[in-house]
Amino acid sequence: MTEPIRDNPFFVLGVAPDASRIEIEREAQKLLGMLELGFADAQTYGTPLGSQPRTAEAVRAAVAALRDPYRRLVAELWARHAPKAVPAAPDPAAPEPAARAGLRRALGWRP
């Protein structure tokens, strides 16, 4: 399910979910130009899952998706309701602090 967030057209283009079609087209053209010129700022885009690499293909695909009303509706659903940032939860399955690496070897057993 992370794809609808990670590859969300609104995040790829860096526009708000309520952006108009003209705004979207303008932003896409601007980004394509910046990518063509190799601007560092345009190389990545932010998502709730962290920064992602932006390519010209992804920008074109995002614009195409947002031109389709149905695909835009679904993209909006994700983009509008996604949190700004989700820090990773602590891992409860992590080894207990009591785990002792190398004990098996020290006690004469392998591996």
């Binding site: 399910m1 509706l73 659903l77 309701h81 700004k84 080894p95 009591a98 057993w109 591996p111």
Partner: protein, 647 residues
Amino acid sequence: MFGFALPYWALWWLHRKAIDARRRERSWRYLWWSSLAGVLASGMIVLGASAALLCWRIGVWWLGLVFAAWLVLPNVAGLAVRHALVPLGAVRLAFYGGYFSRPGPDAEAFGLCCAAWAFSHRPTGDGEAWLARRRTARVPLGDAEVAMTALIAAGRGDADTARQLLRSLELLVEAHPAVRELVGEWLAVDAAERGAWGELAADAVAARWPATPLSLFLEGVATRRAATAGAPSRLELRARWLLAPHRRATRPLIAEARPPAPPRRAPGAGAGAGAGAGANAGDAADPAGSTAGSTATGSAAAGSATTGSATTGSATTGSAATGSTATGSTTTGSAATGSTATGSTTTGSTATGSTTTGSTATGSTATGSATTGSATIGSAATGSANLAGSAANGSVNPVGSAATGSANPAGSAVTGSTAGSEPAAEPLPRAVAAHLAFCAGAPSADRLADTVRAWDAALADPSTHTWLARRAIALDAPAGAVDRALREVAGAITDELARVADGSRLGAPASLGPVGEGLARRLRHGRLDALEQGFTRWEQRRHDGAVRSSIDEWREFIALRAAYTDAAAGGGGELRRLAFPHAFSTGSHMAAWLWNTRQEYVLSHAISKWLLAEALAVGDAEAIELGYRNCSLRVPTRLGDVQEEHP
């Protein structure tokens, strides 16, 4: 010579009895039997050495060598294997060392395990080929062959396979005590390295394996850490440590062998969620009302009714609380449900599902709120400041609309946000946040259930439908776009959750909705299909003539059993009942084939025993009857026939 022979024989007999008695013990008596065995072994060494020396002195040196080999060597062979031959990786010498250490009947079994143990230290192709040849020559398969296969896997660095194979020995009726001791020690050391003290404590309580001095010490550490019944005292643990080998490596474990300290509250820090599981009540004053499952420290309460709460240092008057945790709070005339409050002073408030830290509220009503560091006077907040499924610091919910009756689905705490300025949470953002948190962290059954419920609530929520319909009209989307979008989203979520749940062997949570029902269906069908395919492939080989070696048959069975157990644990009783008939049918055929055609009596009996346990679990009367019949058969083993009694 008879002057030596008779005392030696007596010492040997007593030594054997002491070792046998030690294997049945896990208390102080173990230490006594060990000491006695040590003294007797020393006596045998002295007698044997004296006999050899006497022969040498009278000129028959060759007879002295024979006596030394016959009377002295067996008493030091065990030590030589552990401390010299195994670390050197001397496979063949370790085999003969184990063989001549008088491990009881079928000495070859223990010798092979010692050889595999040596192989695990320095694996070589030659050593593995030699071990495989010796194992293949021993038909039928027994516990020693499985144990040596596990140690060979350990030598290759595959600890998981080694653990799985060694654990499978519990099913086998053939039990070489010396082999089982080695198995128990490997598992104990493995559990200690992984920090799986609970697992080790469970083994100790169930006395699954006869203990070696090292495993007895580690079990003592585990039972003390887990605070289980029968845990040794500090003195006894130290005595166990003295008896065990590798004292330098195990010394730090003595200091760690204490029960985990109860969590200490930092001044002003959050107390965390409490759900009435407390057991340690200190200085508690029972309130005048009814209290269930609560832990209270230094509290005074009047006229309150509390369920499942943990309260520290609070003064409460006329309150009713359910599932709440309050620390350092003063509450007057409040009613709280599922709330956590730390350092708060509340007067005349009603709170439902709220988390409050360091706040002062007077005359407030809060529902489903999480508040940190706020001061509220005379306010009414509903569904405020909620971020689902995440542990967020200083974050703000991006949705600014108001909501009613929201609850934090994953029990998260929000710190650093400002109550009152927090935008309200809607079901959909909460579900998305819960899902992202679930995917980002380690999957657990609770978090999966929270996520599924959040999604089902969000997709069924009228506000979601209204929002979608409004946006569909605004975007000029085709007819039916709302339903299609909801289906698509539900499908994508179900796919993702099913993949994670399947990988983590989680069961489908009970939730009525497109995601919950879809997930349950997907997991059940997927797991059932995988199980049936596995069991069918296993049985099919019998007809194809693709016969494998006995150890491979056993490994396939324990892999299938593990898959079945995982599926049953994840899918619950319903899936277990659905999966059992096919497993029983194929398993019974395989057990009969192994018994009648391959003469693998021990393996066949183990499969029948597992099938019987499963039949009892699902309540299949026909399978139970057949299982009892099969399991009551006399099983020929290298140590004699074994017949298990069943009620």
